[in-house]
């Protein structure tokens, strides 16, 4: 099948765009700002005199001076050197649930009634956005099987951190705060499921996979004790296997008095099919910028909606969005709350997009999202496993849901071409670089595609054909893959510098000093 696909003779837009600082021309202006009126100036005098002498800026900031059309062009060109979902096939970016972010939702977000709201406006003037937050809360309660939702966390990581704070608040309220100092997670759970509890002060115990790739039940039993505060687990885990004994994990953790949190950053395959609440979990979170279509924005802002069962609701961050029959409001009077995890109420504009997305699909549509995401993934699996050099990790004979971690181990052994080589080469065909895996690579030479429901069959066929072509090249002319990219926006950089602290250059000033031999 993949042989029939015509690969694009793609060529990236190579602008050789200089750094902005190199475009600077003394005296140019990008924008002018309002001046204080004469009357104002007459009344208060020079601005300089309004600042205590020792607090006046001595040297103006060394910002570039660039006129408006040149600024616009510079950043437009840099955007053209970026492969967003709007322009490229990003099936490879697994665990991230890259999907279409509807344009109509962007228009809604851009309205003044969303973009230009101040968080401390009188509640009577923000009934619309509060209604959206409250209704979306109801949608997510239904989808998660949980009782209460907080939209305050900006991201999945911050949601997992908030969950960690709630674990702490819960055990402290029970007088067990000091005793319960361990959180259990698994090797194939997202790294934040380990780092967030650690950031909240917990010792983290990591359960390794058993021979079939599932978290080892015996290791869990051994890890459980009166020190167990909680289990933080992703399911399906990053490698794509759904843990069929997940409820037993939950029961065992509950039996020793621990709480259970599941990381549903990516819940695409299970929407309307299985709910964390029904599996006994006390908490879960959804990345609204993944499953629920809000755009990723090059890494945020997103929203990590945190869902909890009734017994944990009182620990959620303040304020809660409330409804008293008629009016919506914000309630700060939650004496058991863990406090706050960020300023204000979270990324309200992301919640607005999610409201619109769910309203555009309804229950049937969400079911369709899940089914097509799972079908796309299993269809892609058939195509990929026919390609020489690629294999699946673990789970022989198991059906995966919406993503799979594969391995190029055989390709590397046969040809010397690594997963990073393939990753560079694929951009030559106009597709976004894939996601390999978090480090350390528990699975050698990994790749983790996730063909969400936004991809057409043709997109999936094309993506598999690119993998097929690169495999063919690796066996026939490995140098071509190793020296890639050839038609990309740039050529290979000196990657050794990334790990050597003294070679890192984080700013233009440093870069310039190094170039001029001053450092």
């Amino acid at each position: 099948m993949t042989e029939e696909i015509k690969l694009r003779n793609y060529h990236a837009q190579v602008w050789d765009e200089p750094l902005l600082m190199e475009l600077s021309v003394k005296g140019q202006r990008g924008i002018l700002v309002p001046e204080a009126e004469k009357e104002v100036k007459a009344a208060v005098g020079d601005a300089e005199d309004l600042i205590p002498a020792n607090m006046r800026r001595a040297q103006p900031p060394d910002l570039p001076e660039v006129a408006q059309p040149q600024v616009l062009r510079h950043y437009t060109r840099l955007s053209q050197m970026t492969m967003g979902n709007d322009v490229s096939n990003d099936i490879g970016v697994g665990t991230c649930t890259m999907k279409y972010s509807p344009k109509v939702n962007e228009q809604l977000c851009a309205t003044s009634q969303m973009a230009d709201l101040h968080p401390y406006q009188d509640e009577s003037t923000v009934q619309g956005i509060l209604e959206i937050m409250h209704k979306t809360r109801d949608f997510l309660r239904e989808i998660s099987g949980m009782d209460e939702i907080s939209f305050q966390p900006t991201s999945g990581g911050q949601a997992v951190y908030t969950a960690s704070s709630i674990v702490r608040a819960y055990h402290e309220a029970n007088g067990e705060g000091l005793k319960r100092d361990q959180v259990i997670t698994t090797m194939f759970s997202h790294p934040v499921d380990a780092s967030c509890p650690a950031t909240a002060g917990y010792e983290v115990v990591t359960i390794m996979p058993d021979k079939d790739g599932y978290p080892d039940m015996e290791a869990l039993k051994a890890a459980l004790s009166e020190r167990t505060a909680a289990l933080f687990i992703t399911n399906p885990e990053d490698i794509g296997l759904y843990n069929p004994r997940i409820d037993e994990f939950v029961e065992r953790v509950h039996a020793v008095g621990g709480l259970c949190f599941t990381d549903q950053a990516n819940a695409n395959g299970v929407l309307g099919k299985a709910r964390a609440g029904d599996a006994g979990f006390d908490m879960c979170h959804f990345n609204l910028h993944k499953t629920f279509s809000s755009p990723h924005g090059c890494m945020g802002p997103g929203c990590g909606a945190l869902a909890v069962k009734k017994h944990l609701a009182k620990f959620l961050p303040v304020p809660a969005v409330t409804r008293d029959g008629k009016n919506y409001g914000l309630d700060y009077d939650l004496p058991h709350s863990t406090g706050k995890v960020r300023d204000f109420y979270g990324t309200a504009q992301v919640v607005l997009r999610v409201y619109a997305w769910i309203m555009s699909l309804g229950a049937k549509g969400l079911n369709e999202v899940a089914e097509i995401a799972v079908l796309n993934n299993n269809y892609l699996e058939k195509l990929l496993l026919a390609i020489p050099g690629i294999s699946e990790s673990y789970g022989e004979g198991r059906v995966r849901l919406d993503q799979i971690r594969y391995s190029w181990e055989k390709l590397t052994a046969d040809t010397g071409v690594t997963t990073e080589d393939v990753e560079r080469r694929m951009t030559d065909f106009g597709v976004q670089a894939y996601w390999t895996s978090h480090h350390p690579y528990a699975i050698p030479q990994p790749l983790t595609p996730e063909p969400s429901e936004s991809n057409a069959k043709e997109d999936i066929d094309y993506w598999a054909a690119v993998m097929g072509q690169i495999s063919k090249e690796a066996y026939a002319e490995p140098e071509k893959v190793k020296s890639a990219p050839h038609r990309g926006i740039t050529t290979a950089v000196d990657e050794s510098a990334a790990l050597l602290h003294e070679k890192c250059m984080f700013t233009y000033k440093k870069y310039k000093r190094v170039k001029e031999g001053k450092e």
Binding site: M21, G30, V33, P34, A36, V44, A47, L50, P52, N54, P60, L72, H74, Y75, M81, T82, M83, G84, D86, V87, D90, M98, V104, S112, Q113, H118, V126, G128, T154, S155, G156, G157, Q158, P191, T206, K273, G297, M299, G300, G339, V341, F344, Y345, Q349, L352, Y355, M359, S360, V374, L375, N378, V399, A433, T491, V493, A497, H501, C504, T507, Y508
Partner: protein, 467 residues
């Protein structure tokens, strides 16, 4: 009559029944249900989700959502004097134009080879921001001003190996909630508040001196403070702090730094803050964009939790590219629970807004906007202080915000603000619960967007509502 066919969803190309069948055939299953075989029956959700009837057409959806949003009154319609950590400024049209580019809006992380453009933007953002705040190194943007302050404090503790921090009592209670939660069970074991002079609102140096201990990891101040005052004793506080072997952290409003001395000039080791004022719409508080910047000191950089981008030479020829996971062993992506803090998606799109904003403004723009804000906010303060019954209790210099006391009017801020709202004005942030010792006070914020007419309207309306 239309054929009864399954709905084809525009966002789901393979919802076309024929495509679905063809793919099922290739996959070797008869029904999608077979693909859910791994979820035990008892864990399956058996009914359908209870959700409202969908609005399938784009037109119906848009009309419906507009209907709800129309219940909001935006700061474009109502004259706004609220600040308190979220600031209304003009967002240049070029910023909105660049942010709506699908490439930036819909990319995730990528590599130097797929997405060099966004890494160049990040590098430029870091270069300009560090210059503005007088520091040398920063990473990807973080969440918001408060959680960034939390990180700055935890960094102080990790760098010094000490566990106490000092913060002035003017830090907002809501920010304290974020900081306290973030510091619980962490390297920071004790948070002590430093008092401020009741008449000026500036930090009491003697109290700083008295509270520094051999275990003080860091001293954090804000400039301007939450209550608006420009703290003039930065150098002295830095001196005391450094003599004690502690670190000096400063939270800033970057919008002020075209005219105010950057914290790097008065001895800061760590600068944190929120870049929302620099080209990001308020979004009901969803526009926050935190940052933490440090000097080029290896031990300090090593404690930064965000992702970092380093410019790098090409293997062949001139030109540059980017190492997009620089100094990665700090990060939880690789180090899991051994990371400095957790790292993940934060607010990168806003750093693009910030980069474009700073590029457009340049040194002159930042200076001029700072001057305009200073003059207009001082003018507003003057007009208000001339109204009988109203007081502006702090004589200290301020940037964009200042406190107004309504105590003498016998009315609460809440009553005043309700009356102002009827005149289409959002009055200042009510401080009566946050700072009860200030009585019935409000924090007013003025920026370049206010005209002399707006400020006079405010003064006139205040006069009308206080008797």
């Amino acid at each position: 009559m239309r054929m009864k066919r399954p709905i084809v969803y525009p966002y789901i190309p393979n919802s076309v029944p024929e495509t679905r069948s063809e793919m099922l055939d290739t996959t070797g299953v008869k029904d999608v249900e077979e693909l859910y075989a791994e979820i035990p029956k008892k864990l399956r959700f058996k009914r359908s989700l209870k959700l409202p009837k969908p609005l399938l057409s784009e037109y119906e959806l848009k009309t419906h959502v507009h209907g709800i949003l129309s219940k909001n009154k935006s700061c474009e319609e109502v004259l706004n004097f609220l600040g308190a950590g979220c600031y209304q400024h003009h967002v240049p049209s070029v910023v909105d134009t660049i942010l709506s580019r699908g490439e930036f809006l819909t990319a995730y992380y990528g590599t130097n080879y797929s997405d060099m453009g966004r890494f160049q933007v990040m590098f430029e953002y870091v270069s300009m921001l560090t210059d503005l705040v007088g520091m040398e190194v920063a990473g990807f943007p973080m969440y918001d001003g408060s959680s960034s302050a939390g990180t700055a404090l935890r960094m102080c503790a990790r760098i010094t190996g000490r566990s106490e921090v000092l913060l002035p009592e003017t830090v907002s209670p809501l920010r304290m909630k974020v900081i306290e939660n973030y510091c619980r069970n962490s390297e920071v074991k004790r948070i002590t508040r430093v008092s401020c002079h009741p008449d000026t609102g500036l930090i009491d140096l003697n109290d700083v001196k008295g509270r520094l201990t051999p275990n003080t990891a860091g001293v954090y101040i804000e400039n301007p403070s939450y209550l608006g005052m420009i703290e003039t004793q930065g150098n002295e506080i830095a001196g005391l702090t450094h003599e004690n072997g502690s670190l000096f952290a400063v939270g800033v409003n970057p919008m002020s730094l075209g005219v105010l001395a950057p914290p790097g000039d008065y001895g800061a080791d760590i600068v944190s803050g929120d870049t929302q004022p620099l080209g990001v719409h308020m979004n009901y508080g969803g526009g926050t964009c935190g940052f933490v910047a440090v000097r080029d000191v290896e031990e300090h950089i090593a404690e930064l939790p965000p992702l970092m981008t380093s410019i790098a030479d090409l293997e062949e020829g001139d030109g540059f590219g980017f190492n997009v996971f620089a100094w990665a062993e700090r990060l939880s992506y690789a180090a899991r629970e051994n990371a400095k803090e957790y790292t993940g998606t934060a607010t990168a799109l806003w750093s693009t807004a910030n980069a474009v904003y700073m590029a457009l403004m340049g040194p002159q723009g930042m200076k001029e906007i700072g001057e305009t804000i200073l003059q207009k906010s001082h003018y507003a303060k003057k007009l208000i202080s001339e109204i009988p019954g109203l007081k502006t209790p702090f004589p200290s210099a301020h940037f964009n915000e200042f406190v107004v006391s309504f105590d003498e009017t016998g009315k609460t801020v809440s009553q005043i603000n309700a009356a102002l709202l009827k005149r289409r004005i959002f009055g200042g942030k009510d401080l009566s619960e946050e700072f009860p010792h200030l009585g019935q006070s409000a924090l007013y914020c003025v920026s370049e967007i206010h005209t002399v007419k707006d400020l006079k309207k405010l003064a006139k309306s205040l006069k009308e509502v206080i008797p």
